[in-house]
C-alpha cells in the first residue's frame, strides 16, 4: 500500500494482524484516523503485516479481528451509530472478554460504558462492556492533558468533552492527571482499563505521541494470535521530541 510497507516486506512477514476501525465514517472527529495509521505503520515496523479494515453502520462484521480501534464523534455521529452498535454489542463483548486489545477514545469510550445521560435527562444506552457511566454537563473540559500511568508511563494528549464519566468497581483508571481534567472534574482520574481495553478521552491523536500504548495493543494482539511477540525497532526519535515539546505547552 505504501513504500514503507513494501520495503519492510523484504523480510518475511511474522504474520498478519487485522485492525478494525469502528465507525470511522461517523466517529472520526479529532484525528482518530491517526490512531489507525499508527497501528498500520507500527505493525509493519515490527515485522508483521497490517490489514486495516473499516467497520461502518450496516457493514457485515469482519472475522478474525485482532485489534479494535474506535474514536470520537459529534452528538449527531453518536446518534447515527447507536442502533448498529447495540446490534454488535454481543460480538464486541465476546471479543473484549476473550482479551482482544481495543482502544476506544472519547465518544466510543462513553458508548462502551453503561449509559450516557444527556443534560436534558435523555439516556443513551451504551453496550456495557466497561463499568462506567457518563453524564452530560454544561461545562466543556478542553485542553492539553498529562496522565501518569503505571503501565505506559506518562501519557500525553488533548481533551475536549462535556460528558463526565465515573468509573464503577469493574474497571480501573488509566491513570491520574497532574495536568488537565480527565474523566470528570472531581476525582483526578483519566480513562479506564479493563482486560485489554484502553479507554481514554485523549486525542491528539493519542497513539502517535504514546507509542507505548500502540505497542501494547500490537504485542497483545500478536501474543493472542501467535503465542509470542517479537518486536522490531521502530525509530521513535521524533515521538520522544514531540512528547518533550508537547509536555511543555500550556493547558
Amino acid at each position: 500500500m505504501n513504500p514503507a510497507e513494501a520495503s519492510t516486506a523484504a523480510a518475511p512477514s511474522k504474520g498478519t494482524l487485522r485492525v478494525v476501525q469502528l465507525y470511522p465514517r461517523d466517529m472520526n472527529i479529532y484525528g482518530d484516523w491517526g490512531n489507525a495509521l499508527v497501528l498500520q505503520r507500527r505493525i509493519a515496523w515490527h515485522g508483521y503485516t497490517p490489514d486495516v479494515l473499516e467497520y461502518n453502520v450496516g457493514d457485515p462484521f469482519p472475522d478474525n479481528v485482532d485489534i479494535i480501534v474506535g474514536g470520537g464523534g459529534q452528538d449527531s455521529g453518536q446518534l447515527a451509530i447507536q442502533d448498529d452498535l447495540q446490534a454488535r454489542a454481543g460480538e464486541l463483548r465476546e471479543l473484549a472478554e476473550e482479551g482482544a486489545p481495543m482502544l476506544v477514545i472519547c465518544g466510543l469510550y462513553q458508548l462502551f460504558g453503561r449509559f450516557f445521560k444527556t443534560r436534558t435527562g435523555a439516556v443513551i444506552p451504551g453496550i456495557g462492556i466497561l463499568d462506567v457511566e457518563t453524564h452530560g454537563t454544561d461545562e466543556r473540559l478542553i485542553g492539553n492533558v498529562k496522565v501518569s500511568t503505571s503501565e505506559f508511563g506518562e501519557v500525553l494528549g488533548y481533551e475536549n468533552h462535556s460528558g463526565q464519566t465515573t468509573l464503577g468497581s469493574g474497571v480501573r483508571p488509566l491513570g491520574t492527571v497532574p495536568k488537565g481534567t480527565g474523566n470528570n472534574s472531581t476525582d483526578g482520574h483519566e480513562g479506564a482499563r479493563y482486560r485489554n481495553i484502553v479507554a481514554s478521552y485523549l486525542h491528539g491523536s493519542l497513539l502517535p505521541k504514546n507509542p507505548a500504548i500502540a505497542d501494547f495493543l500490537i504485542r497483545t494482539a500478536a501474543e493472542r494470535k501467535f503465542g509470542s511477540f517479537s518486536p522490531g525497532t521502530p525509530d521513535d526519535a521524533y515521538a520522544v521530541l514531540a512528547r518533550e515539546h508537547a509536555a511543555r505547552r500550556p493547558r
Binding site: 472520526n28 479529532y30 484516523w33 491517526g34 488533548y158 502517535p208 515539546h245
Partner: protein, 430 residues
C-alpha cells in the same frame, strides 16, 4: 461619555500604532466606554452592513467583495486587517470615522469569525450576510462543527435582507430551511468541480459509499463556478457563461470568487448601484490574495509563497492547489490560542503529495508533532527547528535557486512575515 469615546479611541489607536501594537486594543477601549458606538455608526450607512463568515476563506472573500463594490463606484468600509473579532471592527471604524464619529461610506463589508459574528449581529443586524462553509476548525473553541453551523444559522436569522449561502456545503445550504423573511441566494459549483472539494463528511467515507445527506434537489444558484484554468476562471450567471483572467490561485479562492460575485450582485441589485458586469469581472481579475493566503513574495529573485493552513480541509486544499514539484517546502505549525491548541487536525490531512520532494524545514512550537506526522506518511524531513527565525534563514539559504513555499498556521505566518520584511518587500498591514 459618548462625546469622548471617539477622540479617546482614536488617540489610543494612534498610540498603539506608534508602539507597533495590534489592532484590537483601541477597539476594546471604545467598546468598554461606549458600547453603542459600533451600532450607532454603522446604522447610518445608506446600503447597510454585509457580514462575511464561515470557516475558510473569509479574508480573501471579503477583500474580493470590497474590490467588486468599489469597481461599481461605491465607498466601502471594511475591517481589512484580518482582525475578525468584534473589537477589530470597532478598531477599524475608529480609523475611518471623523472626530465626531461619522463614517463616510455607502456600505460596510465585514469579515467576522463565527462566534464574534453572533455577538455582532445581535447588536448590529446586517442587511446582507454571506456564509461560506462549515469545516473542522478550532474545535477547542467551538466544541463541535454542528455547533458552528448553529452560529452561522443565527447570523442568517438576524439578517434583514439577503442571505447568500454555499449550495455545495450541506451544513450551510440547509440554513435556508430555517429562514422565514429573508431572500436566499446561492453560489455553487459545476458537477465537474465537486470532486476537487474534499469535505469533512466524506473525508473517511469509503469509496462508493453514499454521500452525506445533501440537498435532495439543488436549488438554482445565482453564480456557478464552471471551470478553473491556470490563471483564469469561468462563471455562469444571468443565463450566460463568462471567462475572466484571475490573479488569485487555488481552486478554493476561485470558488470564493463566485461567493463574492453573488454578494456584490445582491448589494448592487439592492439599489446601491447598477451592476456593470464588464467592470465587475475586470475588478475580479485584478484581486490579489489577502496577506498570507496564497500570497507570493519575492526572495532572491524567486517566488516565496505563503499558504495559510488552519484546519484539515484548508491544509488538504492547500496541498492540492499548490503542487510540490520543483519547490522547496517548509511547514510552520504553532499552537498558540489563535492557531488552536489541539494538534489532532494534522492527522486528518494526508501528506502523500509531499512524498516525492520531501519537506526541507519544519518549524513552530509544534514542529516535532509535524515531524511525527510526516514520519507516519513516509515523507522525508530535511531539518526540524522549532524557532521560526533560524529555520526560515536556513530554508532560504539552503533553498537558493528554487521557488519556495511555506505552509503555516496563523501566528506562524505573522512571525514569518515579520522576518521576511527584513529581507524583502512585504505588504504592510496595519
Amino acid at each position: 461619555m459618548v462625546f469622548f469615546s471617539v477622540p479617546l479611541g482614536k488617540l489610543v489607536r494612534r498610540v498603539s500604532r506608534l508602539r507597533g501594537g495590534g489592532s484590537a486594543l483601541p477597539g476594546l477601549v471604545v467598546e468598554k466606554i461606549d458600547p453603542g458606538f459600533m451600532r450607532r455608526t454603522l446604522s447610518t450607512l445608506p446600503h447597510g452592513v454585509a457580514v462575511v463568515s464561515g470557516t475558510n476563506g473569509k479574508t480573501t472573500t471579503t477583500k474580493m467583495v470590497v474590490e467588486l463594490l468599489e469597481s461599481q463606484g461605491l465607498k466601502v468600509f471594511t475591517n481589512r486587517t484580518g482582525s475578525n473579532f468584534t473589537r477589530g471592527v470597532a478598531a477599524a471604524l475608529l480609523g475611518e470615522v471623523d472626530w465626531r464619529g461619522r463614517l463616510d461610506a455607502d456600505v460596510a463589508v465585514l469579515e467576522l469569525d463565527e462566534a464574534h459574528a453572533v455577538h455582532f449581529v445581535n447588536s448590529v443586524p446586517p442587511r446582507y450576510c454571506l456564509l461560506l462553509n462549515v469545516l473542522r476548525d478550532q474545535l477547542d473553541r467551538f466544541g463541535e462543527i454542528d455547533k458552528t453551523a448553529q452560529l452561522l444559522q443565527h447570523i442568517a436569522a438576524k439578517t434583514t435582507g439577503t442571505v447568500v449561502l454555499n449550495r455545495e456545503d450541506p451544513r450551510v445550504a440547509r440554513i435556508a430551511d430555517t429562514l422565514t423573511g429573508q431572500e436566499v441566494k446561492y453560489f455553487g459549483l459545476d458537477e465537474s468541480l465537486l470532486g476537487t472539494f474534499p469535505n469533512d463528511d466524506d473525508m473517511r467515507a469509503a469509496p462508493g459509499s453514499p454521500a452525506p445527506a445533501g440537498l435532495p434537489q439543488k436549488p438554482q444558484a445565482d453564480v456557478v463556478l464552471l471551470k478553473v484554468g491556470a490563471d483564469s476562471a469561468e462563471f455562469a450567471y444571468d443565463g450566460g457563461t463568462f471567462t475572466t483572467a484571475m490573479k488569485l490561485r487555488g481552486v478554493y479562492n476561485i470558488f470564493n470568487a463566485a461567493a463574492a460575485l453573488t454578494l456584490a450582485r445582491s448589494i448592487c441589485g439592492g439599489g446601491a448601484a447598477t451592476a456593470n458586469h464588464a467592470t465587475l469581472l475586470e475588478a475580479l481579475s485584478r484581486v490579489a490574495p489577502a496577506f498570507g493566503r496564497g500570497e507570493s513574495l519575492t526572495v532572491d529573485g524567486l517566488p516565496l509563497d505563503l499558504v495559510l493552513v488552519k484546519n484539515p480541509s484548508g491544509f488538504r486544499l492547500g496541498l492540492k492547489s499548490f503542487p510540490a514539484g520543483g519547490y522547496a517546502t517548509m511547514i510552520a505549525i504553532n499552537d498558540n490560542y489563535a492557531d488552536g491548541r489541539d494538534m489532532s487536525w494534522l492527522w486528518d490531512v494526508e501528506f502523500d503529495s509531499l512524498r516525492a520532494e520531501g519537506v526541507d524545514q519544519l518549524t513552530g512550537s509544534r514542529a516535532y508533532d509535524m515531524a511525527l506526522r510526516l514520519q507516519y506518511d513516509d515523507v522525508r524531513i530535511g531539518a526540524v527547528q522549532p524557532e521560526i527565525a533560524p529555520a526560515l534563514a536556513a530554508f532560504i539559504r539552503e533553498g537558493r535557486g528554487k521557488p519556495k513555499r511555506i505552509f503555516c498556521t496563523y501566528t506562524a505566518m505573522l512571525a514569518i512575515r515579520r522576518e521576511l520584511a527584513k529581507i524583502t518587500t512585504v505588504e504592510v498591514v496595519s
